[in-house]
């Protein structure tokens, strides 16, 4: 089989694959939704983790500053 024929056969297969026997407008959106929702579910806790740690560091540095002003002799204030 020549290169051109192989290319045509493969691209024909690919086109048939994406056509999904005429049900492409139902099958592909279903798969797209599956991945979009799960990717969002993966990203959300990562963003939250970053925010939680940033806020915690800000609180700790405020506490540290307060302690330094007090002469570094006092017990740390509870948050």
């Amino acid at each position: 089989m020549s290169t051109v024929q192989t290319f045509l056969a493969v691209s024909g297969d690919a086109a048939a694959f994406f056509r999904m026997g005429g049900y492409a407008i139902y099958v592909w959106p279903a798969y797209a939704l599956f991945f979009i929702v799960l990717i969002a579910d993966t990203i959300a806790p990562r963003l939250r983790r970053r925010r939680v740690l940033r806020e915690l560091r800000a609180r700790l540095s405020r506490q540290q500053a307060r302690q330094d002003r007090a002469g570094g002799n006092s017990t740390p204030l509870s948050p």
């Binding site: 999904m20 005429g22 099958v27 279903a30 599956f34 579910d41 806790p45 700790l60």
Partner: protein, 252 residues
């Protein structure tokens, strides 16, 4: 604490230990989920033949059924964790229950929408108020109720207890979803997979489906670990072990 709980389990329940434990297992669970998911997708979309009645539209089954199964499985886990949280007041059980809810809601949402996309070409309608579809929608509302109740309280632990109550009461809906196709006359087809008998599906369609069901289990584990770790950091913000993590991550 009752003494029948083994010591290692007791230790695992402590937030810093579980934080490390989940951190070690999380990447492995995610890797397995992606690997099995890719194999299942190839098997389901490429290798499996078209259905003699439904053509290629049936291929939605490879995400619809695993998501539907996860929507019930995660609810059961959430219910058990909520029960443990209410009875023994274990903080980790509370966190596991509350962090399972968003993942369960995500899978329930996927189930409803993919089912709708499958229903339109096969039944001629996006939606019908029959037993299976309605009980699955109730499941979504239960998840959203648990999430909403958890965040409605100023005190997070108080919110978790209230939401845990709702989660436990809602367990009644899980068998209703599962058996709805047997108990009522419904448009929805009966079970394809039968754990104790012959499944009504040929092996070249069945193995991608079972593989995807396994992949979504690992995905849930990975997502839950990631969420629980984050929640433990937020809940234990004042403790030394969390401060150390916050400082270490600022350096890197």
């Amino acid at each position: 604490m009752s003494n029948w709980i083994p010591l290692w389990l007791h230790k695992l329940g402590s937030p810093p230990t579980f934080y490390r434990f989940a951190g070690t297992l999380q990447p492995w669970a995610m890797t397995l989920a992606l690997l099995l998911g890719a194999i299942a997708l190839y098997g389901g979309l490429v290798l499996a033949p078209a259905d003699y009645q439904q053509g290629d539209a049936y291929r939605i089954i490879f995400i619809h059924v695993p998501s539907a199964e996860m929507s019930m499985f995660i609810y059961a886990v959430m219910g058990v964790a909520a029960f443990i949280a209410l009875v023994w007041r274990i903080k980790l059980a509370e966190v596991v229950a509350m962090e399972s809810a968003p993942i369960g809601a995500a899978f329930t949402f996927i189930t409803l929408i993919t089912g709708s996309l499958w229903g339109k070409p096969m039944w001629g309608t996006w939606w019908t108020w029959d037993a299976r579809l309605t009980s699955e929608l109730v499941l979504l509302f239960l998840y959203l109720g648990v999430i909403g109740l958890y965040h409605a309280f100023e005190d997070r632990r108080q919110g978790a207890r209230a939401a845990a109550f709702l989660a436990i009461i809602g367990i009644i809906n899980v068998p209703i979803v599962h058996f709805s196709v047997n108990w009522w006359n419904t448009l929805h087809q009966g079970s394809t997979i039968n754990v104790f008998g012959q499944s009504k599906m040929s092996w070249d369609m069945l193995w991608p489906l079972l593989t995807m069901m396994l992949a979504t289990k690992f995905y849930y584990a990975a997502s839950l670990f990631r969420r629980v770790r984050t929640d433990l950091l937020a809940l234990e913000g004042g403790k030394d072990w969390v401060r150390k993590i916050a400082e270490d991550e600022a350096k890197s």
